[in-house]
Protein backbone atom coordinates (compact mmCIF):
# COMPACT_ATOMS: atom_id res chain seq x y z
CA UNK A 1 0.00 0.00 0.00
CA UNK A 2 2.87 2.32 0.93
CA UNK A 3 4.55 1.74 -2.43
CA UNK A 4 1.28 2.42 -4.19
CA UNK A 5 0.91 5.76 -2.39
CA UNK A 6 4.48 6.78 -3.21
CA UNK A 7 3.85 5.87 -6.84
CA UNK A 8 0.70 8.02 -6.94
CA UNK A 9 2.52 11.01 -5.37
CA UNK A 10 5.43 10.64 -7.81
CA UNK A 11 3.06 10.35 -10.77
CA UNK A 12 1.16 13.48 -9.69
CA UNK A 13 4.39 15.43 -9.41
CA UNK A 14 5.60 14.32 -12.83
CA UNK A 15 2.30 15.25 -14.49
CA UNK A 16 2.36 18.60 -12.68
CA UNK A 17 5.86 19.33 -14.00
CA UNK A 18 4.80 18.47 -17.57
CA UNK A 19 1.78 20.74 -17.19
CA UNK A 20 4.03 23.45 -15.81
CA UNK A 21 6.38 23.37 -18.78
CA UNK A 22 3.50 23.66 -21.25
CA UNK A 23 2.11 26.63 -19.39
CA UNK A 24 5.46 28.39 -19.17
CA UNK A 25 5.61 28.41 -22.97
CA UNK A 26 2.16 29.94 -23.09
CA UNK A 27 3.25 32.69 -20.70
CA UNK A 28 6.27 33.56 -22.80
CA UNK A 29 4.04 34.05 -25.80
CA UNK A 30 1.54 36.32 -24.07
CA UNK A 31 4.20 38.13 -21.96
CA UNK A 32 1.98 38.07 -18.92
CA UNK A 33 4.39 38.90 -16.11
CA UNK A 34 4.47 37.22 -12.69
CA UNK A 35 2.63 39.02 -9.88
CA UNK A 36 4.80 41.20 -7.65
CA UNK A 37 5.81 39.75 -4.27
CA UNK A 38 3.04 37.31 -3.35
CA UNK A 39 5.12 36.99 -0.17
CA UNK A 40 8.06 39.06 1.02
CA UNK A 41 10.34 36.11 1.67
CA UNK A 42 10.82 32.42 0.92
CA UNK A 43 10.04 31.79 4.59
CA UNK A 44 6.73 32.25 6.32
CA UNK A 45 7.43 31.52 10.01
CA UNK A 46 8.62 27.87 9.63
CA UNK A 47 6.90 27.23 6.35
CA UNK A 48 8.07 27.83 2.80
CA UNK A 49 6.41 30.15 0.31
CA UNK A 50 6.45 29.86 -3.46
CA UNK A 51 8.78 32.87 -3.53
CA UNK A 52 12.40 32.33 -4.56
CA UNK A 53 14.80 35.31 -4.65
CA UNK A 54 16.41 36.49 -7.88
CA UNK A 55 19.11 34.26 -9.46
CA UNK A 56 22.60 34.44 -7.93
CA UNK A 57 21.21 35.50 -4.56
CA UNK A 58 22.56 34.11 -1.32
CA UNK A 59 20.11 34.06 1.56
CA UNK A 60 21.01 33.62 5.20
CA UNK A 61 18.26 32.63 7.59
CA UNK A 62 18.31 32.67 11.38
CA UNK A 63 15.39 30.97 13.10
CA UNK A 64 14.90 31.06 16.84
CA UNK A 65 12.27 29.67 19.19
CA UNK A 66 12.20 30.33 22.91
CA UNK A 67 10.59 28.02 25.46
CA UNK A 68 6.83 27.80 25.89
CA UNK A 69 5.04 30.65 27.63
CA UNK A 70 3.39 28.33 30.19
CA UNK A 71 5.59 29.41 33.13
CA UNK A 72 4.65 33.06 32.74
CA UNK A 73 6.87 35.70 34.26
CA UNK A 74 9.02 33.15 36.17
CA UNK A 75 11.01 32.51 32.99
CA UNK A 76 9.85 35.65 31.19
CA UNK A 77 7.31 33.75 29.08
CA UNK A 78 9.90 31.28 27.82
CA UNK A 79 12.61 33.77 26.92
CA UNK A 80 14.88 32.47 29.72
CA UNK A 81 13.96 28.85 28.92
CA UNK A 82 16.09 26.63 26.67
CA UNK A 83 15.69 27.69 23.04
CA UNK A 84 15.93 26.05 19.66
CA UNK A 85 17.94 27.65 16.85
CA UNK A 86 18.48 27.01 13.17
CA UNK A 87 20.99 28.76 10.94
CA UNK A 88 20.75 28.17 7.22
CA UNK A 89 22.10 29.33 3.88
CA UNK A 90 20.21 29.19 0.59
CA UNK A 91 21.47 29.95 -2.88
CA UNK A 92 19.58 30.53 -6.13
CA UNK A 93 21.72 29.22 -9.02
CA UNK A 94 19.03 29.63 -11.69
CA UNK A 95 15.68 31.38 -11.87
CA UNK A 96 13.07 29.81 -9.59
CA UNK A 97 15.32 27.08 -8.21
CA UNK A 98 16.95 27.24 -4.81
CA UNK A 99 19.24 24.94 -2.87
CA UNK A 100 20.04 25.26 0.81
CA UNK A 101 21.54 23.76 3.93
CA UNK A 102 21.14 24.38 7.62
CA UNK A 103 21.95 23.26 11.13
CA UNK A 104 19.45 22.97 13.98
CA UNK A 105 20.22 22.78 17.68
CA UNK A 106 17.58 20.17 18.52
CA UNK A 107 18.87 16.71 17.59
CA UNK A 108 22.01 18.44 16.22
CA UNK A 109 20.30 18.13 12.87
CA UNK A 110 21.92 19.02 9.56
CA UNK A 111 19.59 19.50 6.65
CA UNK A 112 19.87 19.97 2.92
CA UNK A 113 16.93 21.27 0.98
CA UNK A 114 15.77 22.36 -2.45
CA UNK A 115 12.83 24.38 -3.73
CA UNK A 116 11.57 24.73 -7.25
CA UNK A 117 8.87 27.20 -8.18
CA UNK A 118 7.38 25.48 -11.19
CA UNK A 119 4.70 28.06 -11.88
CA UNK A 120 4.40 31.72 -10.99
CA UNK A 121 1.00 33.37 -10.77
CA UNK A 122 0.70 36.01 -13.46
CA UNK A 123 -0.78 39.51 -13.38
CA UNK A 124 -3.36 38.85 -16.08
CA UNK A 125 -4.33 35.49 -14.58
CA UNK A 126 -2.94 33.46 -17.46
CA UNK A 127 -1.63 31.34 -14.61
CA UNK A 128 -3.94 31.84 -11.63
CA UNK A 129 -1.73 30.22 -8.98
CA UNK A 130 1.91 29.71 -8.08
CA UNK A 131 3.10 26.14 -7.65
CA UNK A 132 6.28 25.02 -5.91
CA UNK A 133 7.93 21.80 -4.85
CA UNK A 134 10.00 21.70 -1.69
CA UNK A 135 12.14 18.88 -0.33
CA UNK A 136 14.28 18.48 2.79
CA UNK A 137 16.61 15.71 3.92
CA UNK A 138 17.83 15.90 7.51
CA UNK A 139 20.52 14.02 9.38
CA UNK A 140 20.08 13.43 13.09
CA UNK A 141 23.56 14.24 14.38
CA UNK A 142 23.28 13.12 17.99
CA UNK A 143 25.64 10.65 19.55
CA UNK A 144 24.60 7.05 19.05
CA UNK A 145 23.85 6.80 22.77
CA UNK A 146 20.78 8.98 22.16
CA UNK A 147 19.37 6.19 20.05
CA UNK A 148 20.51 3.35 22.33
CA UNK A 149 19.11 4.47 25.64
CA UNK A 150 15.57 5.00 24.56
CA UNK A 151 15.47 8.02 26.83
CA UNK A 152 14.46 10.19 23.94
CA UNK A 153 10.82 9.83 23.00
CA UNK A 154 11.32 9.14 19.35
CA UNK A 155 14.47 7.07 19.89
CA UNK A 156 15.38 4.24 17.63
CA UNK A 157 14.42 1.08 19.44
CA UNK A 158 16.28 -1.58 17.50
CA UNK A 159 19.33 -3.43 18.76
CA UNK A 160 22.46 -1.28 18.92
CA UNK A 161 24.41 -3.55 16.64
CA UNK A 162 22.07 -2.92 13.75
CA UNK A 163 22.19 0.89 13.94
CA UNK A 164 23.51 2.37 10.72
CA UNK A 165 23.94 5.85 9.25
CA UNK A 166 20.74 5.71 7.16
CA UNK A 167 18.80 5.37 10.44
CA UNK A 168 19.63 9.03 11.08
CA UNK A 169 17.94 10.24 7.93
CA UNK A 170 14.51 11.77 7.52
CA UNK A 171 12.76 13.27 4.49
CA UNK A 172 10.07 15.83 3.79
CA UNK A 173 8.56 16.63 0.42
CA UNK A 174 5.85 19.17 -0.19
CA UNK A 175 3.72 20.52 -2.98
CA UNK A 176 2.71 24.16 -2.41
CA UNK A 177 0.01 26.02 -4.28
CA UNK A 178 -0.40 29.73 -3.60
CA UNK A 179 -2.35 32.72 -4.81
CA UNK A 180 -2.00 36.44 -4.26
CA UNK A 181 -5.66 37.42 -4.16
CA UNK A 182 -5.13 41.13 -3.68
CA UNK A 183 -2.16 43.39 -2.93
CA UNK A 184 -2.80 42.78 0.77
CA UNK A 185 -3.92 39.15 0.90
CA UNK A 186 -2.03 36.00 -0.16
CA UNK A 187 -2.86 32.42 0.72
CA UNK A 188 -1.12 29.08 0.26
CA UNK A 189 -2.15 25.45 0.62
CA UNK A 190 0.09 22.42 0.57
CA UNK A 191 0.27 18.69 0.89
CA UNK A 192 3.33 16.89 2.20
CA UNK A 193 4.85 13.49 2.74
CA UNK A 194 7.23 12.85 5.64
CA UNK A 195 9.39 9.75 6.06
CA UNK A 196 11.76 8.71 8.84
CA UNK A 197 14.10 5.79 8.23
CA UNK A 198 14.07 4.84 11.91
CA UNK A 199 11.43 5.42 14.55
CA UNK A 200 10.44 3.81 17.84
CA UNK A 201 8.15 0.81 17.72
CA UNK A 202 5.13 2.87 18.74
CA UNK A 203 5.53 5.36 15.89
CA UNK A 204 4.89 5.43 12.16
CA UNK A 205 7.61 5.85 9.57
CA UNK A 206 5.39 7.92 7.27
CA UNK A 207 3.01 10.84 7.62
CA UNK A 208 0.97 12.71 5.08
CA UNK A 209 0.09 16.26 6.03
CA UNK A 210 -1.83 19.28 4.83
CA UNK A 211 -0.71 22.87 5.19
CA UNK A 212 -2.29 26.29 4.96
CA UNK A 213 -0.68 29.68 5.48
CA UNK A 214 -0.92 33.27 4.41
CA UNK A 215 -0.30 36.93 4.96
CA UNK A 216 -2.44 40.00 5.38
CA UNK A 217 -0.49 43.11 4.49
CA UNK A 218 -1.32 45.99 6.80
CA UNK A 219 1.27 48.52 5.61
CA UNK A 220 3.80 48.72 2.75
CA UNK A 221 6.34 46.91 4.92
CA UNK A 222 4.23 45.14 7.54
CA UNK A 223 2.06 42.02 7.38
CA UNK A 224 0.16 39.76 9.72
CA UNK A 225 1.26 36.20 8.97
CA UNK A 226 -0.06 32.78 9.95
CA UNK A 227 0.60 29.09 9.31
CA UNK A 228 -1.31 25.89 10.04
CA UNK A 229 0.03 22.36 9.57
CA UNK A 230 -1.87 19.15 10.23
CA UNK A 231 -0.58 15.58 10.05
CA UNK A 232 -3.36 13.35 8.76
CA UNK A 233 -4.57 10.10 10.28
CA UNK A 234 -4.37 7.74 7.32
CA UNK A 235 -4.88 4.17 8.45
CA UNK A 236 -3.50 2.73 5.22
CA UNK A 237 0.00 4.06 5.82
CA UNK A 238 0.01 3.62 9.60
CA UNK A 239 1.83 0.74 11.25
CA UNK A 240 -0.11 1.15 14.49
CA UNK A 241 -3.42 -0.25 15.62
CA UNK A 242 -4.35 2.89 17.55
CA UNK A 243 -3.51 6.57 17.22
CA UNK A 244 -1.72 6.80 20.57
CA UNK A 245 1.24 8.91 19.42
CA UNK A 246 -0.27 10.77 16.51
CA UNK A 247 1.38 14.21 16.22
CA UNK A 248 -0.61 17.34 16.92
CA UNK A 249 -1.38 20.00 14.33
CA UNK A 250 0.49 23.25 14.71
CA UNK A 251 -0.64 26.85 14.47
CA UNK A 252 1.53 29.96 14.40
CA UNK A 253 0.75 33.60 13.88
CA UNK A 254 2.91 36.68 13.89
CA UNK A 255 4.00 39.91 12.28
CA UNK A 256 6.46 40.45 9.44
CA UNK A 257 8.48 43.53 8.60
CA UNK A 258 10.37 43.46 5.32
CA UNK A 259 12.89 45.67 3.56
CA UNK A 260 14.86 45.36 0.35
CA UNK A 261 17.17 42.70 1.71
CA UNK A 262 15.66 41.61 5.03
CA UNK A 263 12.51 39.97 6.32
CA UNK A 264 11.95 39.94 10.06
CA UNK A 265 9.15 37.79 11.42
CA UNK A 266 8.18 37.53 15.07
CA UNK A 267 5.54 35.00 16.00
CA UNK A 268 4.04 32.62 18.52
CA UNK A 269 3.26 28.98 17.79
CA UNK A 270 3.03 25.47 19.21
CA UNK A 271 5.47 23.75 16.82
CA UNK A 272 8.79 23.03 18.50
CA UNK A 273 11.12 22.60 15.55
CA UNK A 274 12.05 24.38 12.35
CA UNK A 275 12.41 21.28 10.22
CA UNK A 276 9.04 20.46 8.68
CA UNK A 277 9.45 16.70 9.08
CA UNK A 278 10.11 17.15 12.80
CA UNK A 279 6.89 19.10 13.24
CA UNK A 280 4.88 16.71 11.10
CA UNK A 281 6.15 13.61 12.89
CA UNK A 282 6.92 14.52 16.49
CA UNK A 283 4.92 17.55 17.60
CA UNK A 284 3.04 16.39 20.71
CA UNK A 285 2.12 19.90 21.85
CA UNK A 286 -1.51 20.62 21.17
CA UNK A 287 -2.82 24.00 20.08
CA UNK A 288 -3.38 25.57 23.47
CA UNK A 289 -2.15 28.81 24.97
CA UNK A 290 0.37 27.19 27.32
CA UNK A 291 2.09 25.34 24.48
CA UNK A 292 2.81 28.45 22.49
CA UNK A 293 6.37 29.72 22.25
CA UNK A 294 7.67 33.03 20.96
CA UNK A 295 10.01 32.82 17.98
CA UNK A 296 11.49 34.78 15.15
CA UNK A 297 12.76 34.24 11.63
CA UNK A 298 15.22 36.64 10.02
CA UNK A 299 16.37 36.44 6.43
CA UNK A 300 19.11 38.48 4.77
CA UNK A 301 19.78 38.52 1.02
CA UNK A 302 23.01 39.18 -0.86
CA UNK A 303 22.96 39.52 -4.63
CA UNK A 304 25.96 38.54 -6.76
Amino acid sequence: MKNKMLFIILLSLISLVTFAQEDTTAVAETKDKPVRSPFESGYLIDAQTTVIPNPNTLEMVIQHKFGTIENGHSDLWGIYAPANIRIGLNYVPVKNFQIGAGITKTKMATDVNAKWTILEQTRENTIPVAVALYGVMAIDGRNISAFETGQIREAYSGPVGSFKFPDRLSYFSQLIVGRKFTDWFSLQAGVSFTHYNAVGVLYDHDKVGVHGNGRIKVSPQGSIIFTYDAPLKIKDISEQLEWTNHPEPSLSFGYEISTSTHAFQIYAGNAGSFLPQENMMWNQKSISKDNFAIGFTITRLWGF
Partner: protein, 139 residues
Protein backbone atom coordinates in the same frame (compact mmCIF):
# COMPACT_ATOMS: atom_id res chain seq x y z
CA UNK B 1 53.06 42.22 42.11
CA UNK B 2 49.29 41.85 42.54
CA UNK B 3 48.87 45.63 42.35
CA UNK B 4 50.96 45.73 39.18
CA UNK B 5 48.76 43.10 37.57
CA UNK B 6 45.63 44.95 38.64
CA UNK B 7 46.93 48.18 37.08
CA UNK B 8 47.80 46.32 33.88
CA UNK B 9 44.25 44.90 33.67
CA UNK B 10 42.80 48.38 34.30
CA UNK B 11 44.84 49.87 31.47
CA UNK B 12 43.90 47.03 29.14
CA UNK B 13 40.24 47.39 30.15
CA UNK B 14 40.27 51.12 29.45
CA UNK B 15 41.95 50.49 26.10
CA UNK B 16 39.34 47.85 25.13
CA UNK B 17 36.51 50.17 26.18
CA UNK B 18 37.93 53.03 24.10
CA UNK B 19 38.17 50.77 21.04
CA UNK B 20 34.59 49.57 21.63
CA UNK B 21 33.25 53.11 21.94
CA UNK B 22 35.03 54.21 18.76
CA UNK B 23 33.14 51.44 16.95
CA UNK B 24 29.91 53.36 17.54
CA UNK B 25 31.19 56.69 16.27
CA UNK B 26 28.88 58.08 13.60
CA UNK B 27 30.34 60.39 10.99
CA UNK B 28 29.27 63.90 11.96
CA UNK B 29 30.31 65.77 8.85
CA UNK B 30 28.52 64.39 5.84
CA UNK B 31 29.94 65.46 2.51
CA UNK B 32 27.86 66.60 -0.41
CA UNK B 33 28.37 64.16 -3.26
CA UNK B 34 30.13 65.24 -6.44
CA UNK B 35 28.10 65.83 -9.59
CA UNK B 36 26.86 62.62 -11.20
CA UNK B 37 28.51 61.52 -14.40
CA UNK B 38 25.50 59.97 -16.15
CA UNK B 39 26.13 58.21 -19.49
CA UNK B 40 24.32 59.73 -22.47
CA UNK B 41 22.24 56.62 -23.13
CA UNK B 42 20.70 56.93 -19.66
CA UNK B 43 20.12 60.69 -19.98
CA UNK B 44 17.99 60.13 -23.08
CA UNK B 45 16.02 57.19 -21.67
CA UNK B 46 12.27 57.40 -22.07
CA UNK B 47 10.18 56.27 -19.16
CA UNK B 48 7.01 54.22 -19.39
CA UNK B 49 3.72 56.05 -19.10
CA UNK B 50 2.75 56.90 -15.53
CA UNK B 51 -0.63 55.57 -14.43
CA UNK B 52 -2.37 55.38 -11.02
CA UNK B 53 -1.29 51.71 -10.96
CA UNK B 54 2.42 52.49 -11.51
CA UNK B 55 2.23 55.16 -8.82
CA UNK B 56 0.71 52.66 -6.36
CA UNK B 57 3.36 50.05 -7.23
CA UNK B 58 6.08 52.71 -7.04
CA UNK B 59 4.96 53.71 -3.55
CA UNK B 60 5.10 50.09 -2.32
CA UNK B 61 8.50 49.46 -3.89
CA UNK B 62 9.86 52.76 -2.60
CA UNK B 63 8.83 51.77 0.93
CA UNK B 64 10.58 48.43 0.57
CA UNK B 65 13.81 49.44 -1.16
CA UNK B 66 14.41 53.17 -0.58
CA UNK B 67 12.65 54.35 2.59
CA UNK B 68 15.22 53.08 5.11
CA UNK B 69 17.81 55.56 3.77
CA UNK B 70 15.86 58.23 1.89
CA UNK B 71 13.01 58.55 4.39
CA UNK B 72 9.26 58.26 4.07
CA UNK B 73 8.84 61.34 1.87
CA UNK B 74 12.28 61.49 0.26
CA UNK B 75 13.91 64.03 2.54
CA UNK B 76 17.00 61.84 3.00
CA UNK B 77 16.20 61.30 6.66
CA UNK B 78 15.61 57.55 6.88
CA UNK B 79 16.91 55.50 9.87
CA UNK B 80 20.13 54.61 8.02
CA UNK B 81 20.81 58.16 6.76
CA UNK B 82 22.81 59.25 9.79
CA UNK B 83 25.43 56.56 9.25
CA UNK B 84 26.16 57.65 5.66
CA UNK B 85 29.29 59.60 4.75
CA UNK B 86 27.45 61.38 1.95
CA UNK B 87 24.55 63.76 2.52
CA UNK B 88 21.52 62.69 0.55
CA UNK B 89 19.70 65.24 -1.58
CA UNK B 90 16.00 65.72 -0.99
CA UNK B 91 13.69 64.30 -3.64
CA UNK B 92 11.42 67.25 -2.94
CA UNK B 93 14.03 69.78 -4.01
CA UNK B 94 13.80 71.66 -7.31
CA UNK B 95 17.36 70.61 -8.19
CA UNK B 96 16.49 66.92 -7.97
CA UNK B 97 13.17 67.23 -9.73
CA UNK B 98 14.76 69.25 -12.60
CA UNK B 99 16.72 66.15 -13.65
CA UNK B 100 15.44 63.99 -16.50
CA UNK B 101 13.74 60.66 -15.75
CA UNK B 102 16.73 58.85 -17.23
CA UNK B 103 19.16 60.60 -14.88
CA UNK B 104 17.02 59.69 -11.87
CA UNK B 105 16.82 56.12 -13.20
CA UNK B 106 20.63 55.94 -13.41
CA UNK B 107 21.13 57.43 -9.95
CA UNK B 108 18.53 55.12 -8.43
CA UNK B 109 19.36 51.76 -9.98
CA UNK B 110 22.95 51.90 -11.25
CA UNK B 111 24.16 53.95 -8.30
CA UNK B 112 27.68 54.73 -7.11
CA UNK B 113 29.62 54.65 -3.84
CA UNK B 114 27.14 54.49 -0.94
CA UNK B 115 24.15 54.39 -3.29
CA UNK B 116 24.02 50.64 -4.01
CA UNK B 117 23.22 49.09 -7.35
CA UNK B 118 19.62 47.87 -7.49
CA UNK B 119 19.64 46.29 -10.94
CA UNK B 120 19.86 42.79 -9.49
CA UNK B 121 17.31 43.47 -6.77
CA UNK B 122 14.66 45.04 -8.99
CA UNK B 123 14.77 43.12 -12.24
CA UNK B 124 11.62 44.44 -13.91
CA UNK B 125 12.03 47.68 -15.89
CA UNK B 126 8.38 48.49 -15.22
CA UNK B 127 9.02 48.34 -11.48
CA UNK B 128 12.06 50.61 -11.76
CA UNK B 129 10.10 53.24 -13.69
CA UNK B 130 7.26 52.93 -11.19
CA UNK B 131 9.70 54.03 -8.47
CA UNK B 132 10.91 56.96 -10.61
CA UNK B 133 7.28 58.02 -11.13
CA UNK B 134 6.62 57.82 -7.42
CA UNK B 135 9.71 59.95 -6.69
CA UNK B 136 8.26 62.53 -9.06
CA UNK B 137 5.16 62.77 -6.89
CA UNK B 138 7.22 63.70 -3.83
CA UNK B 139 7.95 67.25 -5.03
Amino acid sequence: MKKGLSNLFSVLGMFAMTIALFAFVVPQDQKVGAAWNVPANYKSMKSIKATPETEKVGKLLYAKHCKSCHGGVGEGDGPKAASMKTKMQSFKGAKFQAQSDGVIYYQSFVGRDEMPNFEKKILDEEDRWAIVHYMRTLK
